[in-house]
C-alpha cells in the first residue's frame, strides 16, 4: 500500500480531528502502522485546527509531514494553507458547502464534497464529517469500506444505535460523490 500522509483542517467543531481519528483507528483495524498528531498551541476558539495522519505498512518515523498525499479541507483558510503541501498527483478533498474556491494547481486532483448540503438532506448536520470520510475512502481506497462500516456499528451502540443507518448512508453518499468525480 502507498504510504498516506494526510493533513485534515477546518474550524474547531467541524470534526476534522475526529475524521483523522477515524482514519487512524481504521488503519489499526487493518493492521497498518498509524500516527495522529493534532496541531496544538495557543489556538483561538472557533479558529482553524488541523491534524496530521499517517497510514503506512512500515514503522513511522517523523509523525509530522512536509508533503502530503491528500488534504481534507473543511474551510477556506485551510485550502490556502495546505494546497501547497500536496505532492504532484495528490488529492484535495474540499467541503464545497463551505469553501467556494477551486484548487489553483493543475498538477493535483480535487474532490469537491458538499458535506453540509448532503448532511442537511439526510436530516442531521452532524454527519457532514462522515460524508467527508466516505469521500476519502471512495477516492483513495486506502482503507476498506467494510472496516469503516464496522467502526460505525461499534461507535454507535445502546441508545445511539439508531444513528447507525444515518451514518452508513452519510458514508455511502460521500463514497458515491467521490467515485463520480474520480471516474
Amino acid at each position: 500500500m502507498k504510504k498516506r500522509e494526510i493533513i485534515l483542517s477546518g474550524f474547531g467543531g467541524q470534526g476534522v480531528m475526529s475524521i483523522g481519528k477515524n482514519l487512524a483507528e481504521a488503519g489499526v483495524v487493518e493492521g497498518l502502522e498509524v500516527s495522529w498528531v493534532p496541531s496544538y498551541g495557543p489556538e483561538m476558539r472557533g479558529g482553524t485546527a488541523n491534524c496530521t495522519v499517517i497510514l503506512s505498512e512500515h514503522r513511522i518515523g517523523a509523525p509530522l509531514v512536509e508533503q502530503t498525499t491528500e488534504i481534507v479541507v473543511m474551510n477556506r483558510p485551510s485550502l490556502i494553507k495546505f494546497e501547497p503541501t500536496l505532492e504532484p498527483g495528490g488529492i484535495a478533498f474540499i467541503n464545497s458547502s463551505i469553501v467556494p474556491d477551486k484548487v489553483t494547481r493543475d498538477d493535483i486532483r480535487a474532490v469537491y464534497v458538499p458535506c453540509d448540503a448532503i448532511a442537511a438532506e439526510l436530516g442531521n448536520l452532524k454527519v457532514g464529517n462522515m460524508v467527508m470520510l466516505g469521500a476519502y475512502i471512495g477516492a483513495t481506497e486506502a482503507l476498506k469500506v467494510e472496516t469503516i462500516e464496522e467502526m460505525i456499528h461499534e461507535m454507535f451502540t445502546g441508545k445511539k444505535a439508531k444513528l447507525v443507518p444515518l451514518n452508513l448512508e452519510a458514508l455511502h453518499r460521500g463514497i458515491a460523490c467521490a467515485k463520480e468525480q474520480m471516474a
Partner: protein, 354 residues
C-alpha cells in the same frame, strides 16, 4: 494481542495505574493536562488517590509523603512545572524514596512556549536540585515505548529506592498511536521494610529524612547513594540502533527528533549516504560506552539532533572524544525540526567529515 489507539498522555497515565501506581499528585500545565485529567477519573476507580495540589511544590512533596508510606506514587508536569519540583526530587534522592516524575517538555526557558521542546535535558540528566545525585531518565520515542517504560520506571524506582524520570516531549504527549498492553513481568523487588507506614510491631519507628547534620553521617549516606548510582549506570542503560553497522554518519537523537532522524537517515541512504541512527532510550545512564565503540569503527562522524540548542550533544562529545567529529543540528522554543532540515544538516556535516 489487540492493538489499541491511545493518546500519549492518557496512555502514560493508564500505564502508571497498570504498574500499580496508587497516588497521583499534580498541578495542571500544557501540554500534559490529559495525564491529570485521566488520573482524576481513573485513579479513584482503581482504589488510588488523585490530588490536584495547590502548586507543583506541594505535588512533589505529596509524592514524597506517599512514597514514604510505601505507596507507588507519581507526579507529572511540563518544563516550568518540573523546575519547581527540583527541590522535592533532590529530597527524595536524599531520603532514598522511590517515585516517578513525568516531564512532557515544552519550549523554555522560563514560561517559554507550549509546543514540544527538549531543553530540560541538562536539568534531567545532571540534576536540577542540589546535592550529588543521579536518577534514571527514560526517554520514549513512541507511545508503545512510553507505556512500556512507565512499568519499568516504577520497578527501577523501587529497586534502587530512588526517583525515576520519564522525559517525553509535547508531541509524544499529544499524539495518538496504536499500542499493545503487554504483560509486564515485574522485577523481583525488595520488601519496603523501611516504609513509614505505622509501627506494625516493629521495635523501632521507621524514620525517613534527607537531613543528616553530622558530616560523617551525611558523607556515609552519599557514599551509599553513589554505590546505587553506579549500579543503575551498570544495569539500566538502554538504546536502539538502526543501520549503524555500516554507517558513515550516525545521527544521535532521543524522543521525537529520533523519529525525524530515522526518516532523514532513510532518505540519506536513498541518496547514497550510509546513515544510521543511535537512539538513547535512557538519557541517564547515557550509552557512552556504545558510542565510544562506534567511534572506534569506520563511521566518519556523529550528528546530534535535538529540540534544543545543544544539550545531549555534550554527552555525545564526552563519549566520542577526539576520535571522530561531532556535529549538531537543533531547533528550539517549541519548533519541531522537519525531516528535510535534518537531512540537509546531515548532508552538510557529511561533506565536512568524509
Amino acid at each position: 494481542m489487540k492493538r489499541e489507539i491511545w493518546k500519549g498522555s492518557e496512555a502514560i497515565a493508564e500505564a502508571a495505574i497498570r504498574a500499580g501506581c496508587r497516588g497521583f499528585f499534580g498541578y495542571p500545565i500544557t501540554p500534559q493536562n490529559e495525564i491529570p485529567e485521566y488520573m482524576s477519573l481513573k485513579m479513584p476507580e482503581s482504589g488510588g488517590v488523585f490530588v490536584q495540589a495547590e502548586s507543583e511544590l506541594a505535588a512533589i512533596n505529596m509524592v514524597y509523603g506517599a512514597a514514604a508510606s510505601g505507596m507507588r506514587a507519581m507526579t507529572s508536569s511540563s518544563s516550568p512545572g518540573i523546575s519547581l519540583k527540583q527541590e522535592g526530587i533532590s529530597y527524595m534522592v536524599g531520603a532514598e524514596l522511590p517515585g516517578v516524575i513525568v516531564n512532557v517538555m515544552r519550549g523554555g526557558p522560563g514560561l517559554g512556549s507550549i509546543q514540544p521542546g527538549q531543553s530540560d535535558y541538562h536539568q534531567a540528566t545532571r540534576g536540577g536540585g542540589n546535592g550529588d545525585y543521579r536518577m534514571v531518565v527514560l526517554a520514549p520515542a513512541n507511545l508503545q515505548e512510553a507505556v512500556d517504560v512507565m512499568a519499568d520506571a516504577f520497578d527501577i524506582a523501587d529497586q534502587y529506592r530512588n526517583p525515576v524520570m520519564v522525559l517525553a516531549d509535547g508531541l509524544i504527549g499529544q499524539m495518538m498511536e496504536p499500542i499493545v498492553w503487554k504483560e509486564h513481568t515485574p522485577r523481583v523487588l525488595p520488601e519496603k521494610t523501611w516504609a513509614a507506614d505505622g509501627r506494625r510491631g516493629r521495635a523501632h519507628n521507621n524514620f525517613i529524612t534527607s537531613l543528616l547534620l553530622e558530616a560523617d553521617a551525611c558523607e556515609k549516606r552519599n557514599i551509599g547513594l553513589k554505590a546505587k548510582f553506579d549500579e543503575m549506570e551498570k544495569n539500566e542503560c538502554r538504546w536502539e540502533e538502526v543501520n549503524t553497522e555500516d554507517a558513515e554518519v550516525i545521527l544521535v537523537a532521543y524522543g521525537t527528533p529520533a523519529r525525524i532522524a530515522l526518516s532523514a537517515a532513510e532518505q540519506l541512504r536513498a541518496q547514497g549516504i550510509k546513515a544510521g541512527v543511535l537512539r538513547p532510550i535512557t538519557v541517564w545512564p547515557f550509552p557512552h560506552a556504545r558510542l565510544r565503540e562506534l567511534a572506534e569503527g569506520s563511521c566518519r562522524g556523529f550528528l546530534a539532533v535535538e529540540m534544543s540548542q545543544g544539550q545531549m550533544v555534550d554527552d555525545v562529545r564526552m563519549a566520542v572524544g577526539e576520535k571522530k567529529p561531532v556535529g549538531f543540528y537543533g531547533r528550539c522554543g517549541g519548533v519541531v525540526p522537519t525531516v528535510s532540515e535534518v537531512r540537509l544538516a546531515a548532508e552538510e556535516f557529511f561533506k565536512e567529515v568524509q
